[in-house]
């Protein structure tokens, strides 16, 4: 018989939204990503590409273009016709301005970040001034028929190149006049299809690079309007294009899911003549690659298959290692599942609804690895639909299963769920207190008596839950020094004494819940916190960071524990540090206080503090080899990390009781079947 009985849950039907656009912060370490459902995410390169901020989508606010301007201000524009500025501290849309030109297809900021140009459905290109607190309309450039699908500023800010259907135009910014007009399908007479210029880039040398629906990447001399080079790379459209800051490398994405790199290479050694050469092809996506970005060290692509792929450029890497690993992100770096341990319920969060499921159960026992027959099938109890166009920020179910809560950008909902035999009734709790919304994280206390609501400016609201279905605002906890950033992670202790809150500035504050006072702050660490949890017995706070470091902080003693110091001195195993996805959830085994259970997308790990740490010479993932060893040899080989990779991709893992685990998987194949069919491609033949 195995150590745990595992509920292998595969009924979480999450389909992540496709990636619509990607943009790197100029001279910065961040990447902004917009999804087809309007959600905007920010990834931090310095924190190992951790998904730092998520702004959930909005039905009416599609995002067609994103750009960074004036340093770290992020603007988005979409088919709604509005230009929206995002508040990255409060994780919501700050304000929006109507573009007055119909749906906006493209937007670009100039190199200094002081002006925005938008390309509209009506064929106009409009300039906006970026001013403190918003943007201001400046003027229209020369308007012609045909939607402007893509825009690019010349690095000197004097000209703008705009791609439309069958045509590309170059505007003089000062005069606003069209100074060049190039028919891109001039060379293709026999084809009567229209040629859509999907993406454009203006290089400082005066070369305009276009990618079009004929599968071509073309290089134009804008002054003469002549074609310099043309590379046909695909039989289907080339949808996206991005140029490196040095302008020696270009990445393009096609609708077949392939991405290609172009490099500006000297034709001969030592000669000045250089030519763009298509070099590396990559096939990481199955569907349209709608967005690509070129950071200084990596090629980044995002597709409609919801994958974000970061492919580091080996030649820019100093050494092989974590930095040089290929990363593929499909799922968010935070949990969308919450678990009512006592009631054995799972709450799944979708973009606009919640699902409450009861786990199945069995009477039988079996051997290690055996699949047990179910006595009762898992049951879909309730589906809660969020009203309005806004998407859900966060959700939670109480440990007893009788409270469910969620929040959108402007509304906070608390439900009382009652179980009468097989039936379930859901009642909305009336008159919830008016809070500063949105809530970024919700957490019930372990006795289900109170709810913690993470809010903006580092504050955490404590609500008392009242029987039979009411609530009361008890207190608002705030860091003593104040913070502009919102709280995005919460952890409460089992005894109801402590609460840990992690803000967007990565500071961890600990509050005493008995007297509602700030207790202490965990020493700052220069990386993003990915998960926190408080040990039910020792009240030690376990923290994981996006660089895969692991800390244990004793709350009563206000210092790192001896074990944590030992871990830091010895260092973690190389293989552990080279993993590319962050730990998203930590839990404990109350029966075995030395065990810490943690998981990321690809593995589940039981960390046994009583065993020695592995050094780099030993095998980290040794469970398979251990099984084959005799008992005495096995004892010698044991180390602290017991890793299981059976369940992939793992969205959530929790311990229901001493011997029972729940694992929520979402097989990639199940997502693929939900996506539209990819472009048919012949494997063989011509």
């Amino acid at each position: 018989m195995g150590e745990f009985e595992v509920h292998r849950v595969r009924f979480f039907g999450l389909v992540p939204a496709g990636v619509r656009c990607l943009v790197c912060q100029p001279r910065g370490g961040r990447l902004a990503l917009a999804r087809t459902d309007g959600a905007v995410e920010v990834y931090n390169f310095a924190a190992n590409y951790f998904q730092e901020k998520v702004i959930p989508g909005h039905e009416a606010r599609s995002v067609e273009a994103l750009c960074w301007a004036a340093g770290d201000r992020l603007f988005g524009a979409g088919l709604g016709g509005d230009i929206t500025e995002y508040d990255l501290a409060r994780l919501c849309a700050a304000h929006s301005v109507d573009g007055c030109g119909g749906p906006i297809w493209s937007m670009a900021a100039n190199s200094s970040g002081t002006q925005l140009a938008i390309g509209c459905e009506d064929g106009s290109v409009k300039l906006f001034q970026v001013v403190p607190g918003g943007i201001q309309f400046e003027r229209n450039l020369d308007r012609r028929k045909g939607r402007i699908l893509c825009l690019s500023w010349h690095p000197s800010d004097t000209h703008i190149a705009a791609g439309s259907i069958d045509i590309l135009r170059v505007f003089d910014v000062r005069s606003g006049q069209t100074v060049q007009r190039v028919m891109v399908n001039y060379h293709v007479q026999k084809v009567k299809r229209e040629c859509i210029v999907w993406s454009i880039a203006f290089l400082s040398s005066g070369t305009v690079v276009t990618s079009d629906s004929f599968g071509r990447v073309q290089f134009w001399d804008w002054e003469r309007g002549t074609l310099l080079e043309s590379h046909t790379i695909s039989t289907s459209a080339v949808l996206s294009l991005a140029v490196s800051e040095k302008e020696d490398s270009i990445i393009v994405g096609t609708s077949t899911g392939a991405t290609y790199q172009f490099q500006l290479l000297p034709v001969k050694t030592g000669s000045l003549e250089k030519r763009w050469v298509r070099t590396k092809p990559f096939q990481h996506h199955t569907h349209d690659v709608r967005a690509v970005a070129h950071s200084s060290t990596a090629l980044i692509s995002g597709g409609l298959d919801a994958q974000l792929v970061i492919r580091p450029l080996m030649e820019k890497m100093q050494k092989k290692g974590y930095e040089a690993a290929l990363r593929k992100f499909t799922f968010p770096h935070r949990r969308l599942v919450s678990c009512a341990r006592k009631a054995r319920l799972l709450l799944f969060q979708f973009s606009q609804h919640l699902e409450l499921w009861r786990l199945g159960s069995t009477d039988e026992t079996g051997d290690d690895g055996e699949v047990l027959p179910l006595r009762r099938m898992p049951e879909h109890l309730v589906q809660l639909k969020s009203k309005g166009p806004e998407h859900i920020y966060c959700s939670c179910v109480s440990p007893c299963g009788s409270w469910v809560s969620y929040s959108t950008a402007s509304r906070f909902h608390l439900y009382r769920v009652q179980y009468e035999g097989d039936g379930v009734s859901v009642k909305k709790v009336p008159k919830v207190p008016k809070l500063l919304l949105p809530a970024y994280q919700l957490q019930f206390s372990s006795d289900s008596s109170s709810l913690f609501v993470a809010s903006a400016r580092g504050s955490v609201h404590v609500l008392q839950l009242l029987e039979p279905g009411g609530c009361k605002h008890l207190h608002t906890l705030q860091p003593p020094s104040g913070s502009p950033e919102a709280v995005y992670l919460l952890a409460s202790s089992a005894d109801g004494h402590w609460l840990a809150a992690v803000g967007g500035d990565w500071a961890i504050h600990i509050y005493n819940l008995k007297c509602f006072k700030h207790h202490c702050m965990v020493p700052m660490y220069s990386c993003a916190v990915t998960a926190v949890a408080i040990h039910p017995v020792t009240n030690n706070l376990v923290i994981t960071y996006s660089d895969q470091q692991l800390f244990e902080f004793s709350i009563p003693e206000k210092q790192y524990t001896a074990w944590s110091r030992m871990v830091q001195n010895r260092g973690l195993h190389k293989v552990w540090l080279e993993r590319d996805s962050p730990i998203t959830h930590i839990t404990f085994n109350p029966k075995n206080p030395s065990h810490i259970l943690l998981h990321d997308i690809y593995m589940f790990c039981v960390l046994d503090k009583s065993l020695p740490l592995p050094d780099n010479s030993t095998l980290l993932m040794n469970q398979g080899t251990l099984k084959q060893l005799p008992e005495t040899a096995r004892q010698r080989q044991l180390h602290a990390f017991k890793i299981c990779k059976k369940f992939q991709p793992l969205l959530f893992a929790d311990l229901l009781d001493e011997k029972c685990l729940v694992m929520v998987e979402r097989p990639i194949m199940d997502i693929k079947t939900q996506l539209p069919l990819p472009i048919q491609q012949k494997k063989f033949g011509t």
Partner: protein, 832 residues
């Protein structure tokens, strides 16, 4: 001509025909190929072999034009020498002896007096290095070239794995998963490697390499069918490559076009792929080239490209990717199951060619005469697919009938077909007459016609022996069906068996009266008229491997070879064993024109040849260590004319020539001629004019002119001048009048023909003789007897009184002598 003391084994076709890429001459008129121990020169326009340059003692591994003199050619060989040739005249200019085996040869325009060769690294097995050899300017024909300097270490032995870059700036070499590039000026060596993982993308190993002629770009072919284009390789870190992928299997060779704008690649798919602008999306194909492409080379003007195939075919392709010409020697087939058979009509060697085809290979011109599709089914290139193949072939004595057996190997029961082909004089090809499905229940082991020259058609008999323990006799029957298009067809006449043993061999005696069939350990002799079993022979233990009857004076003997290594000779009159010898005979081949029988044995890793007469147990000739490979097949091919052989020892080679086919499908023969002499009897004294294409009209005119000039010289001024003045205007008029004002052809024709005719009183014997001479020369297949007849006729027709007769009228033997002298090779004179 002094006959040398020893008999030499000479490779004359087949197998490792192409050891290196072919080379076009600078004007793209000639194609030079390494072919076995020789370098062959073909005319691109006419496909014929113009020159055979021999002199190397082992396989030629590389040929390159001399970059400083495009009329000269370097060749390297496994015998450790580099030869410099004047290929227009076929003269070896110099021989540089390097000493160790040379596996590949490269020349560079920028290196004044050195060439590059690949040699084995001394002291280490299977390690090779690229060295540059300084070719000294010392006088004399044979020069030592010992000044070597190592350029690259650890290179592959294949000539396709090294390439020199633009203007000789760098050299690139691939081996397994490693690419190394050496820059001559900077003296910098960069190494790159691809992942060795044999995962889903297949075997990543390098197979070939080519360098861009004008840019810094290297193309490499891989075992998984990918082509990589490397750039920026002077940076160790920032190198980059792009991938082209069409081939599903190993890329066998790559070549850049002269300008470097396109890339050609080929592989087992037998499709030549043309990649434009290094783009994956723009490519053109030339499919159905017959067999896997082994080497690709470009002519220096870029107008032609040539592919060498694994079955020894050479294809010349236009720059617009149109098939232009095909030069076919002995086609290498997946397995020669038919044996070597000589076509009595053309004296061509007949054996398996392309899968399912029968090739007719002309030994004299080293050309494939034609390929007969026997199986008539689409061949699919796929591993592990059982396909019907040709296994047995037999010709009737005059070559009028051809019998073929094809089978498809199945686990349970083989699919067999016996086909009989009739030679159609009109179409000059074989026509299917009868098809018999499942002639035997099991594999057919042997097949023969009753070999009788004089007999009528209806006595023609075919015997097949099968593993189903019977032999069957097939005869022609009149077709009764009035609907049938043909008058005769074949059907089974008699089925014989012996104690339920498998029939393994069958053979008719020379006069056709007796049939010998071997059943495992026993040889049975049957009367071919009554089909009675006459007698049996056996020589236990051991099954009978080969049997044959003696010829001519030895026709009373029956020879058999057994598995246990015995060669036995039985006397048919006394029905007793005459003699036996302990010899592991693999091949037993009687000469059809003499009593001699050749036996090839295989003993301790070498083949030996024994030639004997059945009436005496002592062999006439023994050649030990014929070759290192196993010889499976041999055939005596009758000579056109008996060769003058001075040595008593080699008299058996007088009437026929013996050819062998080894396991590697190398065709070899025995020759008494010395190394420098040419193998083929044809002695085309190559001149540039001669190889120009000849139109029928120019032939006609040329003949006419030649006649006139001969008239001038031989008959002097005696020929009526006005005659010539009369007929030449007719021709001139015909040629110089614009086509649109010419009268109709029917009107012109009589005038033209009349102008060519010579009036009866002027007809001289000489002219006739000349004409006959030319004809007889053209038809070299004509037998001696026939020629004698024509000469007799000529004498008969010659008028009595003619001038100049004495000068040219020679006796037959004198004429023969003269002919021989004419055919002798005087090219050695020019070497001095």
């Amino acid at each position: 001509m002094v006959a040398p003391a020893t008999l030499r084994v000479v490779r004359c076709g087949g197998s490792t025909l192409h050891g290196a890429r072919a080379v076009f001459s600078a004007d793209s008129k000639y194609l030079l190929c390494a072919s076995g121990d020789f370098v062959k020169m073909y005319s691109v326009a006419t496909e014929e072999t113009l020159r055979l340059m021999g002199g190397h003692a082992d396989l030629v591994t590389g040929i390159q034009l001399n970059p400083h003199n495009h009329m000269q050619l370097y060749s390297s060989s496994l015998d450790g020498s580099i030869k410099l040739w004047d290929f227009m005249d076929g003269i070896p200019i110099k021989t540089f002896t390097v000493g160790s085996k040379l596996l590949a040869l490269y020349t560079l325009a920028s290196s004044e007096d050195s060439v590059f060769v690949v040699i084995p690294k001394s002291g280490e097995r299977d390690k090779f290095q690229l060295v540059s050899v300084k070719l000294t300017k010392a006088a004399g024909q044979d020069v030592e070239a010992k000044e070597l300097s190592v350029v690259l270490d650890g290179v592959d032995a294949s000539p396709k794995c090294i390439a020199f870059g633009r203007e000789g700036e760098y050299v690139a070499s691939v081996k397994e998963v490693n690419l190394q590039v050496y820059f001559f000026k900077q003296k910098q060596l960069n190494r790159f490697s691809v992942s060795a993982m044999k995962t889903k993308s297949g075997n990543n190993c390098f197979t070939c390499i080519a360098c861009h002629p004008t840019e810094d770009c290297i193309a490499t072919g891989h075992a998984n069918g990918k082509i990589r284009l490397w750039r920026n390789f002077y940076h160790k870190k920032e190198y980059t490559f792009s991938t082209l992928h069409w081939h599903h299997d190993t890329v066998m060779d790559l070549a850049f076009s002269i300008e470097g704008t396109s890339l050609l690649s080929g592989g087992v798919e037998s499709v030549l792929v043309l990649w434009h602008n290094e783009s994956d999306c723009q490519k053109d194909f030339l499919p159905r080239l017959g067999s896997a492409i082994e080497y690709i080379s470009m002519s220096s003007d870029g107008a032609l490209c040539c592919t060498l195939h694994t079955d020894n075919r050479i294809t010349i392709i236009n720059s617009n990717l149109r098939f232009s010409k095909s030069i076919q020697g002995l086609i290498k087939s997946p397995g020669v199951k038919t044996g070597l058979v000589v076509d009595p009509r053309t004296k061509a060697l007949v054996l398996n060619g392309e899968p399912g085809h029968l090739q007719f290979y002309c030994l004299q011109s080293d050309q494939q005469l034609f390929s007969l599709d026997i199986v008539q089914r689409q061949y699919i290139h796929q591993a592990g697919l059982n396909q019907a193949d040709l296994v047995k072939v037999a010709f009737s004595a005059q070559g009028k009938w051809l019998a073929t057996v094809e089978e498809r190997e199945e686990v349970a029961d083989p699919e067999l077909q016996l086909k009989l082909w009739f030679y159609d004089e009109e179409t000059q090809s074989f026509k299917l007459n009868t098809r018999i499905n499942m002639p035997h229940e099991d594999h057919i082991t042997d097949m023969c016609f009753r070999d009788m020259d004089e007999l009528e058609d209806d006595s023609l008999i075919l015997v097949t022996a099968g593993r189903d323990c019977v032999f069957k006799v097939w005869v022609m029957v009149e077709d009764t069906d009035p609907e049938a298009q043909q008058s005769v067809s074949w059907s089974c006449d008699f089925v014989g068996s012996y104690h339920n043993y498998q029939a393994t061999n069958c053979c008719f005696s020379e006069d056709g009266s007796l049939l010998a069939v071997s059943f495992e350990e026993t040889i049975t002799v049957w009367d071919s008229v009554t089909w009675d079993l006459k007698c049996t022979f056996c020589y236990p233990p051991g099954k009978v491997r080969n049997i044959c009857f003696g010829r001519l004076t030895c026709s009373k003997y029956l020879i058999g070879a057994t598995d246990y290594g015995f060669l036995c000779c039985w006397n048919l009159l006394s029905c007793a064993l005459e003699w036996s010898a302990h010899l592991n005979v693999l091949v037993l081949q009687p000469d059809p024109l003499s009593e001699h029988i050749a036996a090839v044995s295989w003993l301790s890793k070498e083949s030996s040849l024994f030639v004997f007469k059945p009436n005496e147990p002592r062999p006439v000739y023994i050649q030990r260590n014929l070759c290192k490979e196993k010889i499976r097949l041999a055939a005596f091919v009758p000579r056109d004319e008996p060769e003058m052989i001075s040595s008593e020892k080699y008299l058996w080679l007088r009437r026929s020539q013996l050819f062998f086919l080894t396991d590697m499908q190398e065709l070899m023969t025995l020759s008494t001629k010395s190394l420098e002499e040419r193998l083929t009897p044809s002695s085309k004294q190559l001149a540039v004019e001669e190889s120009l294409p000849v139109t029928p009209f120019s032939v006609l005119l040329g003949k006419h002119r030649r006649q006139q000039s001969q008239e001038d010289t031989d008959l002097g001024k005696r020929v009526l001048h006005n005659k010539r003045e009369q007929d030449s205007p007719a021709v001139r008029e015909l040629l110089h009048t614009p086509a649109h004002v010419l009268p109709s052809a029917s009107f012109l024709c009589p005038i033209f023909i009349n102008s060519l005719l010579i009036s009866k009183e002027n007809k001289s014997a000489e002219e006739v003789a000349d004409e006959v001479e030319m004809e007889s020369e053209k038809t070299q297949e004509d037998s001696d007897e026939e020629r004698d007849v024509t000469e007799m006729e000529q004498e008969d027709t010659s008028p009595m009184e003619l001038l100049g007769e004495m000068t040219c009228k020679l006796s037959k033997s004198q004429e023969k002598e003269l002919r021989k002298i004419r055919k002798m090779d005087y090219s050695w004179i020019s070497a001095f």
